[in-house]
Subunit: 332 residues, 2 copies
C-alpha cells in the first residue's frame, strides 16, 4: 500500500510530517511512502529510508494561498504532485496537513470524484465524551452550499466508513436539526429527512440536536457543510475556552489551587485527552476515488502517525473501492 | 411599567415564576405585574400582592403543543392572554418560560411585528469566558429559513439592544461565517456580508468564526436561525459535557481526587458561574412592537428575576420604541 505524502503542508512541516511518517513506517512494514517536498529539508529529519522515497520539488502551497488558483498554477507543488501520483495509480492514497481548501480542490480536480457522487464531504471522527466511542460528522465544510441529495450521499458514505474503518456493524445515522421531532427543520433538512427515511440501506434514526452530539447520540451525524463547520468550530472553541478556565481555576487560587490542580492532574489530563480527537486520525475527504485525508495544520508527529494508521485502515478494508462499486451500481 | 407574565410556562411553573416575580417586585417598585394562570396554583406561592395582580385562566399551553395550533385554538391560555394584554396596551411587555415556538407565534400573530421588519429573531446574551462581557447572538432559531435581508435587520436590531440595554457605545457586529476573509461563506452569508458592509449605521467588523465566539470576538454576532440554533446548542452541550468530565475527574480518582476537588471548589464553581448566562436575562424576541422575552423552561426563580430585570431595562431605555421609529423612518 503506497501513500503519497505532502511533506510541506502544515505549521510544523516538514519535521512533524517526516517524524510521523517514520513512526508509521516502523510500525507498518506493509506501507510504503512517497514524500513530496524539498529534499534537503526532508533529509534534515529523515533517519531511516526504509519504505520511504523522497520526490523532490521546490514548490509548495501556502496556508494563505487561494485554493483553486494554487492548484491550477502551482503544478509542481508537493500537494499537487502527491495528488497526481494518486491519479496516475502510482500511489493509493494522499495525506496532507496543508491548506484545506487547496486539498479539497486537488481532490476534486486531480484525484476525482466517485462516479455518481455530486459533492465529496469532509468528515472527521469526533470524540464522545462519556465513552471511548466516537462519531463521524459530515460535512464539516467541503461544501458551503448543500442540497438534500448531498446530505443523503453523506449518510451513505459515512455509514460505509463507520462500518469498514470503525467496525460498527449497523451504524446509526442522525440528521443534525433544530429539534428532534419529524417535521422540524429548514427547507434543506426537511427534504433531506425524507430522502434518509426512504433509504432502507442506512440505519437512519431521525433528527438529532447539537446538544447531544458529544453524548454519542448517533454513530454518524450528517449536516450541510456550513452548519457542520460552525458546529465543529464551536466544539473546539468551547472545549479550549473551558480548558483555559480550568487552568485559571488552578493558577488563580493560590497554593490551595495549585495543590488541588496537582491532586487532580491525572483526571484533568484525561479530559484533555478525551477532547483530543487526533487518535481517530484526520478528516477524510470522502466521495473521491481514493483516500485523501487531512490533519490539522498545527498537527504534531503523533497526529501524522494516527492519520496514516487511519489511511491504512481505509486501504486494507477497501472502503473506497466498495463505495465506488456501490455508486456505480446505483447509476445503472 | 406593566409586565404581563405567563405564570404557567416552564418546568417549574407556577412556583419558580411566582417566586421570581416577587423578587423583582420587591426590588423594582416601578414595575407592576399581571400574572396569567390558575389562581389557586399561583396563590400557593404568592406571599405578597404588592404590585401583583392575578388574572385567572384554566387554560395553558404545554411544552409539546404544536405552536401555531396552540396559539390559534387555546384562546384562553395564559400565554395568549398575556400577549393580548400587550396588544391591547394593558401591558408593556410579555414574559414567558413556556413553549418557545408558541411564544414566537404569539409574538408574531398577537403582539405583531415592527413595521418594516420581515422576521423577528430570537436573541440571547451569551457569556464571554475570559471577561465579564457578553455577546448577543441573533438569530438562535426564530426562523429556520433566512434571507440576507433578515440577517441585515438582525444586525440593526441587536446593535440597538447592545447599545441601549447593555450600554455599549458603538457595538461591534460580526457575521458568523466559515472563515474570516471577505468572500468566504455560502450564498446567504456572501450576500449578507454585502448588505452589512454597505450599512454605515452599524459597526460591522466582518466575518467571525464560531471558534472565537466565547472569546468575545464581537459584541453582536448575526447568523441565520438554523446555524445559530446549532451553535447555541453546541455551546450548551459541550459546556455540560465538560462539567461532567470535571466531576468524573474528581469522583473517579479516589481520595486524591476528592481532596483536589475540594481545594479547587471555588475555582470550579466560578467556571459553572461563567457558563450560566441567565444573569444576562432570557432570549429576547426582537423585531416585535413590544418586549417579548423567554427564559429556559428549566429556569429557576433567579432566572425569572434576571429576565424581568432585563425587560425593565428594555422598557426604561425605550429600545423597542426607538427601533419602531427607526424602521418607520426607513420605510418612508
Amino acid at each position: 500500500m503506497k501513500i503519497a505524502v505532502d511533506a510541506m503542508g502544515g505549521d510544523y512541516a516538514p519535521q512533524a510530517i517526516v517524524e510521523g511518517v517514520m513512526m508509521a513506517a516502523t510500525e507498518f512494514p506493509d506501507l510504503s511512502f512517497q514524500l513530496y517536498g524539498k529534499e534537503s529539508a526532508i533529509r534534515e529529519y529523515l533517519t531511516t529510508e526504509k519504505n520511504i522515497t523522497i520526490i523532490h520539488t521546490d514548490e509548495k502551497i501556502n496556508s494563505d494561498d487561494d485554493p483553486v488558483r494554487a492548484i491550477r498554477r502551482k503544478k509542481e507543488a508537493s500537494m499537487v504532485l502527491g495528488a497526481q501520483a494518486v491519479k496516475n495509480g502510482e500511489a493509493d492514497a494522499l495525506f496532507s496537513a496543508g491548506n484545506t481548501g487547496a486539498l479539497l480542490t486537488a481532490g476534486l480536480l486531480i484525484v476525482g470524484r466517485i462516479k455518481g457522487i455530486d459533492r465529496p464531504g469532509l468528515m472527521p471522527t469526533l470524540p464522545v465524551l462519556n465513552s471511548d466511542k466516537g462519531f463521524n460528522l459530515m460535512d464539516v465544510g467541503a461544501n458551503a452550499d448543500t442540497k438534500p441529495e448531498n446530505i443523503h450521499q453523506y449518510a451513505i458514505l459515512a455509514s460505509y466508513y463507520a462500518k469498514y474503518v470503525r467496525g460498527i456493524e449497523n451504524p446509526t445515522v442522525g440528521l443534525l436539526n433544530n429539534g428532534t421531532e419529524a417535521g422540524k427543520g429548514n427547507d434543506l433538512t426537511k427534504k433531506a429527512y425524507e430522502l434518509l427515511t426512504n433509504d432502507k440501506s442506512i440505519h437512519f434514526i431521525g433528527n438529532v440536536e447539537a446538544r447531544e452530539l458529544l453524548n454519542g447520540v448517533a454513530d454518524v451525524v450528517v449536516t450541510d457543510g456550513f452548519t457542520g463547520n460552525a458546529v465543529l468550530k464551536t466544539i473546539e472553541g468551547t472545549g479550549m475556552s473551558m480548558m483555559k478556565l480550568i487552568k485559571s481555576a488552578i493558577s488563580d487560587n493560590g497554593a490551595k489551587g495549585k495543590l488541588g490542580g496537582l491532586l487532580l492532574k491525572d483526571g484533568l489530563y484525561a479530559i484533555k485527552d478525551k477532547l483530543d480527537y487526533s487518535k481517530h486520525g484526520g478528516a477524510a475527504l470522502i466521495g473521491l476515488k481514493a483516500p485523501v485525508v487531512k490533519t490539522h495544520g498545527s498537527t504534531g508527529k503523533e497526529s501524522v502517525y494516527y492519520t496514516i494508521k487511519q489511511i491504512r485502515e481505509m486501504l486494507q478494508t477497501n472502503v473506497i473501492g466498495d463505495l465506488v462499486d456501490y455508486f456505480e451500481n446505483q447509476a445503472k
